[in-house]
Amino acid sequence: MEYILHLLIFISIYIILAQSLSLTAGFSGLISLAHVGFYGVGAYTTAILSVNYGIPFLVTLPLAMLLSGLIAIVVSTISLRTVDDYFIIITLGIQVVVFSVMNNWQVLTRGPLGIPGIPSIKILGFPFDTKISFLLLSLFFVGIVWFLLNNISRSPFGRVLIALSEDEIFTKSLGKNVYKAKIISFTISAMFASIAGVLYAHYISYIDPTSFTINESIFILSIVIIGGMRNLWKIALAAAFLVLLPEALRFVGMPNSIAANMRQIIYGIVLIMVIFKNSDNFKSRSSFYTS
């Protein structure tokens, strides 16, 4: 039972991550590999603040969101000067820089040693230290993020994003500020990603840079791609599927030493298969009118 609850908590964290990435990657067509960087910024902000200064969760969460939002604004203003494949490479670079800050700024982040002993969440005196209560809390956040993303995507702003991902020049000619819309969507998605990071840090109670590598970015991107880029329901299902898939390896009796590698290999294979299957522009065919 504990095991199932643990998996459900992980699924909800990944739903937040993947749905927030879907705002940039799916709706505005900016494939970002830096998403895990913002996830890590959230986790590290809350860890440092709550371990070193004992600041409660209700304060660290907005601070984490604010910090990753600020980083996202700065970073996207620069990186959005490029388009398409170049943008992907730049986000890859941002991810590398964030990782190297986490790994090397030892005064602040303790480097590869990681930060242990992150306290469990306490809201107004009520501790969320059992798995079932934490699951309810994270489902609450999934609900909020889902609701907000759903509304954003239906709002006039969401329509601008969809339009610019289909034809940027045409959207510009309608008098929409494409550059600003891209920056806003990138920032919102980074802020949501940091919520997932805060939850992760308090749940695991220990973080180190290896949880926030480029492989994790590829994993989240594959959830979004498998979920069909813009469909929030399907992305949630894809998150559940991809989190549960390697758990099947446990029951096959795979030795632990190669299980981690096998997990990555399975993700890679699934990713390539999906690209093969959907290669006739699944991006523009998705839920423009239905959602």
């Binding site: 388009v83 670079g93 590398v96 820089v97 990555q264 990713l271 093969f276 290669s279």
Partner: protein, 290 residues
Amino acid sequence: MQLILNILVSFSLLLIVSFSFHQLYQVAKFFHLAHAVTITFGAYFTYLFSVQLGWSLCIAITLAIICAVVIPAMMEILIYKPLRNQGTSSWKMLIASLGLYVILQNLISMFWGDDTKSIRTWSVKTGHNFFGAYITDVQIITIAVSVMLFVGVLLFLRFASLGKQIRAVSSNEELSNIFGISSDRVILWGFIIGSTLAAIAGILIALDTDMTPTMGFHVLLYAVVAMIIGGVGSSKGLIGGALLLATAQHLSAYYIDSKWMDATAYIILILFLIWKPLGFSGKRLKKVEI
């Protein structure tokens, strides 16, 4: 003086890797990130043949290059070519190549383990004294081989028949199809040439420092940065980009700390994007200029 020599060594490695990647990008028109694994395979196959099987280094290196080139050629035939025929857009090809990279890199970690391996069976020497600085045999070989390969491939592209076809396809694929050049065949050759360069670079890196399963990705990221700084579509720009990057990295390692070399590379890239978004020379990155 030691600093200049170090810069020269990493410059030549960077040059050859970014040249090989650029070569592939010109022909195939997408970022083949699984190129990283070719570099790693070059090193690990050499390790397999020379240390684990105990063959002589010459045979081992030759076999390793062949094996490391066969893998990307298979990728091109089995995965990229069908995708291209379906009309997949270039960012999806990029994602597919990331998937391939993840698969192959984890296969390497499964077979050889994550720890550092070395193919240097000989004892470490202090190296030659060169105006008060030290340079090892391997580093001299690295510089010589890189420069020779760079010039050689450039001459090949300019004068050989196949090289001309490669240039034709990279400038306009449809038009060269009309003129009877099979673009699939030329792209395959582009993969073979680029991968050969990458495998050689991997072996040189492994001879100089040691190897880990993720070494290829690090090198490739630097190479991509050098390529973007230099401006896509120009070999002279590549030289400038690689030189600037190598200099900046070694200066930062010398004055700040060697662990910030990754960050330095990307900060330079960002500065370039702000003030000179086109690189030293090269094509526009924007879709349309209004």
